[in-house]
């Protein structure tokens, strides 16, 4: 926040929102992209010297666009940005003049961020009852809110086991396992190809979400879709744990109807060429992360580092028909209720 102050004190309108956002992600391993985005926008409001409403809005919009274009798939990030934009416009409508609106936003923007951060805690409290003694939970990838929920359960003395899929290509399952094992929870990491095999041994499936879309489906780490299908066919409950600031106004009709392209299916007729392309991709990825930062990784999650530099995990889309319920800070919702919640927020 120091540089924000500097910017406003010096009367310098140039506030590097991207830098601020990146710093947030790098310094706080617990922060998620939408919250970091909202926080950056609040800082931008702070720094903003605009004197007219339209100037003000265009500055904020510009900042939100900068953030969105900085990452290759901006699902959760844009959810956060859009939500805050909406909040600003509503505030402008209620307050009227620009000066008092900015004051209002300065004071309430922090509250807004705080509420978004508190959401995880509230979800943990709401969802903790879904995990009971003797259960085995199947997890996918690494979701902070799912982990928070499970740690809350462990705290309360619930004895449960967890099966975590490796979640390739990101490999985040291992990270989830490390965090859970630290708290004494028995965790088994299985390869993604063993998901079907492991399904019979679990009692419920818990996944997080990059974004929750309008029909109640989710966009989440690659492999969630197949997990959902397997859970459905094994008749296991499939719960999504997500904060409501991840609700996004998007309505994908299929896997391929997402607003960005993913490099998942690539055809080769030549083994060597395939290997070469693979290697190039890896090199490019490494080049994107400055060496200094890579060395400084320390306790910061590798995924956050990647996120900060625009490298995003691959995702797929899971339709609402596979989801038993969504555990949010506003209650446990059926997929159908997501749309109502979104309409409530937006109109």
């Amino acid at each position: 926040m120091s540089e924000v102050k500097k910017a406003s004190e010096g009367g310098q309108p140039q506030f590097d929102i991207l830098k601020h956002y990146t710093n947030l992600l790098l310094t706080d391993s617990e922060i998620t992209m939408p919250v970091a985005a909202i926080e950056s926008l609040v800082a931008l409001v702070d720094a903003c010297q605009a004197t007219t409403v339209s100037e003000f809005i265009s500055i904020i919009e510009g900042g939100s666009d900068t953030l969105k274009s900085s990452v290759s798939n901006a699902i959760s990030l844009s959810a956060g940005c859009d939500l805050f934009m909406r909040y600003i416009i509503q505030t402008l409508g209620n307050v009227g003049d620009i000066a008092s609106c900015r004051d209002y936003l300065r004071n309430n923007g922090r509250l807004f961020v705080q509420r978004a951060k508190d959401a995880r805690r509230r979800i943990a409290l709401l969802g903790v009852n879904f995990v009971r003694d003797g259960m085995t939970v199947l997890l996918h990838a690494f979701s902070r809110v799912v982990i928070a929920l499970l740690l809350e359960a462990a705290e309360r003395g619930v004895r449960f086991k967890a099966i975590v899929t490796e979640s390739r290509p990101s490999g985040l399952g291992k990270r989830a396992a490390r965090v859970l094992r630290d708290k004494g929870i028995p965790v088994s990491v299985v390869s993604d190809s063993a998901t079907g095999y492991a399904m019979g041994k679990c009692d419920l499936v818990l996944v997080g979400a990059e974004g929750v879309v309008e029909n109640g489906g989710i966009i989440n780490a690659l492999g969630t879709f197949q997990l959902a299908i397997l859970a459905r066919s094994a008749k296991k409950p499939f719960y999504v744990v997500a904060e409501s600031h991840k609700f996004v106004r998007l309505f994908p009709l299929s896997q391929y109807d997402l607003p960005f392209d993913q490099d998942i299916i690539t055809y080769f007729t030549d083994d060597e060429e395939a290997a070469r392309v693979e290697k190039e991709k890896e090199e490019k990825k490494l080049k994107n992360i400055p060496e200094a930062l890579a060395r400084n990784d320390g306790g910061i999650g590798g995924d956050n580092l990647n996120r900060a530099w625009g490298e995003r995990p691959l995702v797929d889309f899971t339709g609402p028909e596979f989801i038993t319920a969504l555990i949010t800070e506003n209650g446990v919702l059926t997929p159908g209720a997501v749309s109502e919640e979104l309409i409530r927020i937006w109109h």
Partner: protein
């Protein structure tokens, strides 16, 4: 909106139509009502029919002076007809439609036949094909006597008879039959107190000149605008109370012409609230100006702007290489496809159509003319298209979106949606929120609209087949025709509904309905 006529044009018709309608309908001859109907249904028949009608004794008997019946006379006439109808119904029940027709009808028949001579034979068939005769209750005995226009009777106008009860599909008997429509198109419904623009609109709705719920909504509001402009508050009454009473018969008239579409009903509900909330301390002309302004704003906001927003967001959904199936014709689907084309998207459209309305023909032509790769097929080829043409999306229009997320639309829509669901193709419904209702319907039976059965019959000329087909289907004892206009598509077949509020799953219909009506 493309279908709706501009207001001045409506007015044009207003001047001429009530007169012509009544002049056609006044004579008691049976030939004339059918004639009137024929005229609306097919222009080319007109010339053929008119001279014949003139040659008929009944028509000749109808004095020219009678042409302009006063309202009172019309009323009396209608009363008499009603009585006669009742009597007939009783008689019918007793004699079970046998050849022993007897009664008042027995006598005139031979006479009619004789007078008709040779000429009516062909004309009669035409009439039949055009849907004149099957309305006649006396159907049985007439056909036994081979009288082509045998419905002629001095006492009862056969055009008013219900279809013989055995000629109606039992499951759909509760629906308003097409009788009232005929009465209106024949000008036999008293029109005193009905504004000419409303009458013109009713007639246009019956002939499907104004078709599609949004077009009907716009036309209705424009007609009501005219009604409001021509209204003067009677002494001792206030506009915000009396105008609604004044509108009621107009609404009823339209409802009789065709059951009011959900969109129309929503708009009327809005208009009534708007009228009754007129401030009392302003003058009539101020209040009228306020109302007409509000109507214009309503059309702008709920129809024009909404349609544009929907077309734009639907166009965004279209990607290069898409093959899009659409059924029949929806104005907003057409707008969306044209918008996508305008944005340079490369896609193919497959227009699925069906008898008897063939609404997709115009859509196919419009799209093709605009430069979109378009294929036109009938619904019979649906399976081939869905399984072999790599269809990527199905776009459907709506007549109404029901409270349970079900789609109420042109009959055949459910079949397309079901087929799409079966082949895992996403079904996208495009609908303005004005079409949303909190009414819930689980099947297509409880509420629907019956169109004239005659529309299903293919005339001899078209078919080129001297005998057979459905012509003179009334004569086939156990044969019934059913021509319903709508069906209900379950919510589970629908992926998303694009409205001006954004894309929704079907389960959010009631939320948006509440939102858009402000309740």
């Amino acid at each position: 909106m493309a279908d709706s006529k501009s207001p001045p044009k409506t007015l044009d018709v207003v001047v001429s139509s009530p007169k012509s309608a009544s002049s056609e309908a006044t004579p008691q001859s049976p030939a004339n009502p059918t004639n009137a109907q024929n005229k609306q249904q097919s222009g080319k028949q007109k010339g053929q029919q008119q001279p014949k009608a003139a040659s008929k004794p009944d028509a000749a008997a109808a004095p020219a002076g009678e042409k302009k019946l006063s309202a009172k006379e019309l009323k009396e006439q209608k009363k008499a007809e009603k009585q006669a109808r009742r009597a007939q119904a009783k008689g019918d029940a007793a004699k079970d439609g046998g050849p022993a027709a007897g009664g008042p009808e027995g006598k005139p028949q031979p006479q009619q036949q004789k007078k008709g001579g040779n000429a009516p034979q062909k004309g009669g068939q035409n009439q039949n094909a055009q849907g004149g005769q099957q309305h006649r209750k006396g159907g049985h005995q007439q056909h036994h006597t081979q009288g082509p226009s045998a419905g002629a009777s001095k006492t009862v106008d056969p055009a008013f008879h219900h279809l013989d009860s055995t000629k109606e599909v039992a499951l759909f008997k509760h629906l308003e039959d097409t009788k009232k429509k005929r009465e209106i198109s024949d000008g036999l419904v008293p029109t005193e107190g009905i504004h000419p623009s409303v009458i013109a609109l009713g007639l246009k709705m019956i002939t499907y000149d104004i078709c599609g719920s949004v077009a009907r909504l716009v036309a209705t509001l424009l007609a009501f605008k005219q009604v409001i402009l021509d209204y003067t508050t009677p002494p001792g009454a206030s506009l915000n109370r009396d105008l609604n009473h004044h509108l009621s018969p107009q609404i009823q008239y339209l409802n009789a012409a065709r059951p009011n579409a959900t969109a129309v009903r929503n708009a009327i509900r809005w208009l009534k609230v708007e009228i009754s909330s007129s401030p009392i301390d302003i003058t009539d002309s101020e209040a009228k100006a306020r109302l007409t302004d509000r109507i214009d704003a309503f059309i702008q906001e709920k129809v024009m702007a909404a349609g544009r927003v929907i077309a734009e967001s639907a166009a965004e959904k279209i990607r290069d290489g898409d093959v899009i199936v659409t059924y029949a014709k929806s104005a907003v689907v057409q707008a969306a496809l044209l918008e996508a084309h305008k944005r340079g998207k490369k896609f193919k459209v497959c227009v699925i159509d069906s008898r008897p309305r063939f609404e997709g023909r115009n859509l196919a032509r419009t799209l093709g003319t605009a430069g979109i790769d378009t294929q036109y097929s009938l619904i019979t080829s649906l399976n081939y298209i869905m399984t072999n043409m790599n269809v990527t999306k199905v776009f459907l229009g709506a007549h109404a979106m029901l409270g349970n997320g079900y789609l109420y639309s042109r009959v055949g829509t459910a079949m397309v949606a079901m087929m799409a669901k079966d082949t895992e193709v996403p079904v996208i419904v495009l609908s303005e929120s004005i079409k949303f209702t909190d009414r819930v319907q689980l099947d297509s039976i409880v509420q629907n609209e019956r169109a004239p059965e005659s529309e299903l019959v293919i005339s001899a000329e078209e078919e080129g087949d001297a005998s057979g087909g459905l012509r003179e289907w009334e004569k086939v004892k156990n044969l019934q025709l059913l021509n319903i206009l709508y069906d209900v598509t379950p919510a589970s077949y629908i992926n998303t509904i694009i409205t001006e509020y954004g894309s929704l799953p079907p389960s959010s219909v009631p939320v948006v309905h509440r939102l858009s009506t402000g309740t």
